[in-house]
Subunit: 354 residues, 2 copies
């Protein structure tokens, strides 16, 4: 038994693996593998449509929202967003809550003024910046809802009339929120949506109308919407894995149900960490992420031993990001509560020993 | 038994399907699915490295070439190439041999002057333009080696000192050629390389030095090379399917072996078409593609009947592209000779009947 705490690509439901493997042998009884199925076939067009529809349904999106599945991962959105929405003489504002938000701001500077409005870099991104003002003339305000590397998560969002762009790569569909309050959402699929190689984008039609310069076809959200996410050959298999995962989530009871499970997992882990002085969570309690828990050890000399113990017990992916060190335990939607329980039991055992 | 003549995504070797499905259950004995395996794990880093190395080996690339696996498909290269190599006041020249080359030229015009140097649009792209001059001051010369939609293929290439950029999406690795004579090659994987969702790029280091403007990180070939095609999360599974397909090709005897098989298939099909007056190949004989054969029927009223007959016999993907009509038979590397034989037998039977 392997317990997979990988930060992404990460664990997906077992039923998704089964169905995905079956479709590689024979896709929907066509006698063809999904890997050799044309994207402009009714059988794949149905996959894409259902994936788009299910995304809207699970996020309770209003009619003013459009969903796309795009190539290139969230990192492509770092520049595609300003390329479309930040005019040469315009200004965008960024919340610098971690590694990825900081990179996003860097890419935006190629197109216009990208101001970091607040940052938690002073304390290694161990908290979410608060108490900032969003200038009313900004082209948009960019934030990261969950910082995968540092283990912080935004639990409150500012009120503003400026369009809000949210990178939700590591916590989309993991908790209930009013997805409609965001004008633009993007999320690499390889955590809570499906397999690596595709990025989900949600856009408000009003923002779409603010496209400010001529952009290449593949960078033009309007063209992707017009073509139902099939402007060119989509990443067929990755989209199918998303569909299977979205179906699983719906079956489970949707975002409300998974939120409850995610809260259970995170509560168990953080309560264990707080109770055992040998472990030190690095993030301010109010800003702790339910997706990625980051901690170090009181005695750094013990880290290697704990890591080896975890490995011996079949736990993978808990080594911290190279920029932070220590440990990172990722608890995405598909991670069973049992995996967290096995880990916390091991932690208690380890703490008793030391 | 299904005979898959899809134009792409298209047939892959049966052994690739088997191994890909097995890796979804358990990737290399790790106890994890490849879909939940981190890209920065030794087991996946080895996949990426072997895929890059095998690509170089199969194309006999010199040390001045670098290979990348990128997101976004060939359509992203339509703009990424001029974004990197066409200066604002510079000029690139394009060979307009079909739908895709024409689109590539259109995207380049966003960045500089993109002149169509020769075109076969006058006769619906049923031949390869010849006898043109490449201006020596061009930033690069862009061509499409095989026109998927129209069924033409370039069998000769012009001598020039100008950097040559080649879209080889639909015939890469299908025939022997001096790949080193091209300064830039790109190819969507979903025909001869592997699964949809990844694009192979080969670049000469000399061209790399001619990068002419500051570009976003994800659009910067130098950054992708520095990061071994893992600048961000790569399309893990699609890259793995490429590796399996490249291994299969090497096992078979490499490009020389597959070229011989591809010639057999194309010869059988074209000889059959030429011998049966009921079928009319649309392309000039000298420019016929060994990958995509396009034809119509002498009596268009019979097309529906033939299509239905093919369908009843388990042949899929032979309907012509909507812009051309008639039929298109794609015969990529993994298509068995037997599939072409079954189709040509049916053609003879059909011709006798009418």
């Amino acid at each position: 038994m392997v317990h997979n705490f990988n930060a992404g690509p990460s664990i997906l439901p077992a039923t998704v693996f089964e169905q995905a493997a079956a479709a590689i042998h024979d896709f929907n009884g066509t006698g063809l593998s999904i890997l050799e199925t044309g994207h402009r076939t009714p059988v794949f067009e149905a996959v894409m449509q259902e994936a788009l529809d299910l995304s809207k349904e699970l996020m309770h999106l209003s009619d003013s929202k459009e969903v796309m599945f795009l190539h290139g991962g969230a990192t492509t959105q770092f520049f595609q967003v300003p390329m479309n929405f930040l005019p040469d003489n315009g200004k965008a504002v960024y919340l610098d809550g971690g590694t990825w938000g900081s990179k996003a701001a860097g890419e935006a500077r190629l197109y216009g003024d990208a101001n970091v409005i607040a940052s938690s870099k002073d304390r290694n991104y161990t908290y979410i910046p608060k108490g900032y003002q969003i200038p009313p003339d900004a082209a948009y305000f960019h934030l990261t809802t969950n910082n995968t590397v540092e283990g912080t998560q935004m639990w409150e969002f500012p009120d503003t009339n400026v369009p809000v762009v949210a990178d939700m790569s590591s916590d989309i569909l993991s908790r209930q929120m009013d997805f409609n309050r965001f004008d633009f959402i993007y999320a690499g699929a390889q955590k809570n949506i499906g397999a690596a190689g595709v990025c989900m984008v949600v856009i408000d039609k009003d923002l779409l109308g603010r496209t400010c310069r001529k952009v290449p076809g593949m960078m033009d959200y309007r063209k992707h919407i017009e073509n139902g996410s099939m402007l060119n050959t989509p990443p067929v298999f990755a989209v199918y894995v998303c569909l299977l995962t979205l179906r699983w989530l719906k079956e489970l009871g949707g975002v409300a149900a998974i939120e409850a499970l995610n809260r259970q997992k995170a509560t168990l882990l953080y309560e264990t960490l707080d109770a055992l002085p040998v472990f030190i969570p690095t993030v301010d309690p109010a800003d702790r992420s339910h997706m990625n828990a980051v901690f170090v050890m009181e005695d750094p000399a013990l880290e290697k031993e704990f890591l080896q113990l975890c490995k011996a017990e079949g736990m993978v992916g808990i080594k911290g990001h190279r920029s932070v060190g220590g440990f990172r335990v990722s608890m995405y939607n598909a991670l069973p509560l049992d995996s967290v329980r096995t880990l916390t039991d091991l932690m208690k055992h380890f703490a008793q020993k030391h």
